[in-house]
Each structure stands twice: as C-alpha cells, then as structure tokens.
C-alpha cells in the first residue's frame, strides 16, 4: 500500500459500468513525512475520503476487487484508509 493525499476528484458521465456510482479521487503520492513525491494516481474510494485528507491507497488489482466484492472489475487502485498520523522511529 502507498501513502497519499487527496488533491481532487474527477467527474464523468461515460465510464465503465464497474465505476458507476463510485467516487474517483485524484491522489498525490507522498513520502512517510507527507511530502509530495510529484507522482499521482486516480483511485476509487471505499472509505469516504475527502479533499486534503491523507490516505492509504491499495495499488494492487486482486485486493482492490476484493474490496468491492467484484470478480471482474477493472480496478487496481482503491483508497482503503484515512490516516491521522504517521509515526516513524
């Protein structure tokens, strides 16, 4: 899983049927300290994350499909947690 921050949302009427009714968030990847790495991805939301929140993103297809209880959904990235704090020793 990777750490990120929600920086936006995308909207669209025409999409694959799997994504109907799902919120798609634009996630900026961050380091453990919270600094942006410059990279981004678009992930489906499963926890109700919102703008500017730090999140945990699962970037693996089989796990992502399991989250949505789908056998054949074309999904790889899904927001699976909202992060309050990251503690590193």
């Amino acid at each position: 899983m990777i750490l990120g921050r929600v920086i936006g949302e995308i909207h669209g009427t025409i999409k694959h049927r799997f994504y109907e009714g799902k919120k798609l968030l634009v996630i900026e990847k961050t380091s453990a300290a919270g600094e942006p790495t410059g990279d981004y991805l678009i992930a489906a939301d499963s926890v109700g994350a919102g703008a500017d929140e730090r999140v945990l993103v699962l970037d693996e297809g089989n796990g992502a499909r399991q989250v949505f209880d789908s056998k054949d959904g074309p999904v790889r990235s899904v927001v699976v947690g909202i992060i309050d704090d990251v503690v590193s020793d």
């Binding site: 920086i7 936006g8 949302e9 995308i10 909207h11 669209g12 009427t13 025409i14 999409k15 694959h16 799997f18 994504y19 798609l24 634009v26 900026e28 981004y40 991805l41 678009i42 992930a43 703008a51 500017d52 297809g61 054949d72 959904g73 074309p74 999904v75 790889r76 990235s77």
Partner: protein, 89 residues
Amino acid sequence: MFLGRVIGQVVPCVVTPGLEGVPMLIVQPLDKTLKPKGKAIVAADATRMAGPGELVSYEGGREAAMALDPAFVPVDHSILAIVDGVNIT
C-alpha cells in the same frame, strides 16, 4: 488510473481475435495539472465513446484487459472513463 488526452486514432486492418471493433486511440498521458507527461500510448477504448481531444482516464496492465468484453484480450492500456471535470484543490 491516470489522466490522458486523446490525440489520435489508430485504424488497424487485421487484429487478434477478440479485438475486432474495439477502438484504438492514441492517448497522451498527463500530469495532475493536465500537462503532457511522457510518450503517447495506444489504448483500447472500453467506453467506445471517446474521441479526439477528450480528457480520459485510463488503466494499464491486467485491469486494462479486464475492462473489455471478451476479457483477457491482448491489450496493455484501456480507456475506462471520459472525464468531464477534474477538481484539483
């Protein structure tokens, strides 16, 4: 998923079984500010409705093939959604 802009269309005359009639579009990957990033790719259009100039969201890898019907055809990128708006905060 990532953001991209459709910049062209490929018209194949012979395709592998399962890919007949699937639109193949040339997609320029974009960064989070919608500026072009990297080299253009050819993606299968799973929405079958994307056209030149449109902002789209595409996925690569195994999930790209799962988006098409029949699934598991030999493609490496698929357009999954046509993006009407991106709200970056």
